[in-house]
Symmetry: C2
Subunit: 328 residues, 2 copies
């Protein structure tokens, strides 16, 4: 049995990324209902709202779900308190030290996954005793690592350092083909952000979703490297950021400029020019706004089709060993 499915008690090793302003109870419960693992994103909620959202997911599905908590968030401890009080069984932590909370959460019977962007931090996660590691590449939307490691290079590097911990690949995975590619690289499952942000159940503003459908390969860029690398849509807000960096703006100026409100304004309120819009490079591959159930069906169908295409009976791969022998 797939180790990610076994760990979380789910049917498909597909985790929906916990994305600020996108991942509310509608999205999380729809993903869990469809056989994956839905996650609420605590980062863009107050602790009270998180409690309400947890209760709503529970009334919408009896299947496993989880909560994503960015550990650097000033509310991190309160989020964890709410999760424990509400008997949340799965927590994905990110942006912080996995040693801080993992043991306490596991003592409380919670399964813990931590998000990293390098093999070095993946090894620290295993030391901290996490149940799974999410390794997220440079192509991912939103917050990102400083090493700029792509999913293609990161996943095998993380696989090599992990002794036994299950590995979830993230970054650039929006299709069944990319899911299969991640498995080829050594991942047990995938975390998908961008594609779930652009579903009907995502709580992002419709104008943001509609914009995403029109975006292409040149529409995003990793920016804000001075503060904390973040992949953004190249809209007017992005141009402001680039201009401020060019003139050598201080961290304080930058912080004021981006502020907490800018992402809300873009993704929740739909100000697609002046808001901060976080989305991954794989947005170039997305052409419509499906339901979660439809997206899951496509992921599975495309994954299995790609696998058949590669299979020996289709004439490609069985020949490689033979071809080498012939060549020698």
């Amino acid at each position: 049995m797939n180790p990610i499915c076994k760990l979380f008690g789910i049917k498909l090793p597909i985790i929906q990324g916990g994305m600020a302003w996108c991942s509310g109870w509608r999205l999380a419960s729809a993903v869990s209902e469809a056989g994956g693992l839905g996650l609420l994103s605590a980062g863009s909620m107050t602790p009270d709202l998180l409690r309400e959202q947890i209760r709503k997911v529970k009334s919408a599905t009896r299947r496993p779900f989880g909560v994503n908590i960015p550990l650097m968030n000033p509310n991190a401890e309160n989020y964890i308190k709410v999760c424990l009080e509400e008997h949340v069984k799965i927590i994905f932590t990110s942006a912080g030290n996995p040693k801080k909370w993992t043991a306490r959460l596991k003592d409380a019977g919670v399964k813990v996954a931590h998000v990293v962007a390098s093999a070095r931090f993946a090894a620290k996660c295993e030391e901290a005793g996490v149940d799974a590691v999410v390794a997220e590449g440079f192509e991912a939307g939103g917050h990102n690592g400083k090493e700029e490691l792509t999913t293609m290079c990161l996943i095998p590097a993380v696989r090599r350092v992990l002794k036994s911990t299950p590995l979830i690949a993230a970054g650039g995975i929006a299709t069944g083909e990319a899911w299969l590619a991640a498995e080829a690289l050594g991942a047990d499952g995938v975390q998908i952000g961008t594609a779930f942000a652009i579903t009907q159940e995502s709580s992002a503003h419709d104008d943001f979703k509609r914009l995403c459908v029109t975006l292409d390969e040149s529409s995003t860029m990793l920016s804000l490297k001075q503060l904390s690398p973040t992949r953004l849509v190249k809209n007017r807000f992005y141009e402001e950021v680039v201009e401020a960096e060019r003139r050598g703006a201080s961290n304080e100026e930058m912080l004021e400029m981006i502020g907490f409100g800018r992402a809300r304004r873009g993704m929740l309120e739909g100000d697609i020019e002046n808001g901060e819009l976080e989305i991954g490079q794989a947005v170039a591959l997305i052409d419509d706004i499906p339901t979660v159930a439809e997206l899951m069906r496509r992921l599975v169908a495309d994954h299995d089709k790609a696998l058949s295409r590669l299979s020996p009976t289709h004439g490609h791969s069985i020949h490689s060993t033979k071809a080498l022998v012939e060549a020698e």
Copy 2:
């Protein structure tokens, strides 16, 4: 039959990247002898040296080989003249407009592949009538695209725009698992640079190869973005580049600083501190300096092993469609 193997008359759809200071006759002929396609890198040779190297490859192997020509190089036209005079049958062009030479080369019976870093340029290649497209992601060593598209996102995007042209994936591919991942994403074959640069037959300096074996995931960075994005090893030379960019050095200053000699000094002469060292992110996965034949054996064995691991009988993938049905 695999379309890349058919196109070039080779046994394995593995192309060795044409890398300045690495890809001389020893490397190219060893790759071709092992069943892949070896390429000479014209960019770091005089036209006379290129002629000599072509003759040496021909006396070392009767199998197909090719020459990589960067079209922006001031010697590009002379390289092409030499290739035609020496009856080279395969040319990979890069860094320039594929419309300039493709038709003339094809009229002369040459198979032409062109290297791109975006789907937009891939479509232009097909219009220009190339025989194959190489799509190279952000993780690749050396010269790189401005859009910063990773292999994971670039390959499916290019696959979607190409009507019938065979597709070769490049960037971050140093293992059989990554080769399989590239196939899952829709590539017909792969171009491998970094792993071949670090073989016994590579003409790079031994000190450079030995350094590469020690590098890890934090050892390279895409830099020189102001001039022409290039992935470099973070040595003393790299620090000089970063410092010059920080103080707002002009393009002229930057050009003088990097000059033609710096890459030669690093990769051919082995000055690993003050020379310009180009290598891909996948260098983190390389632990020794094998022969080309040994590297090819590993690529094939790891590719086929990864494919077996994913196959339905191993319990993972056959279940996804079934699992979805169960979940519904």
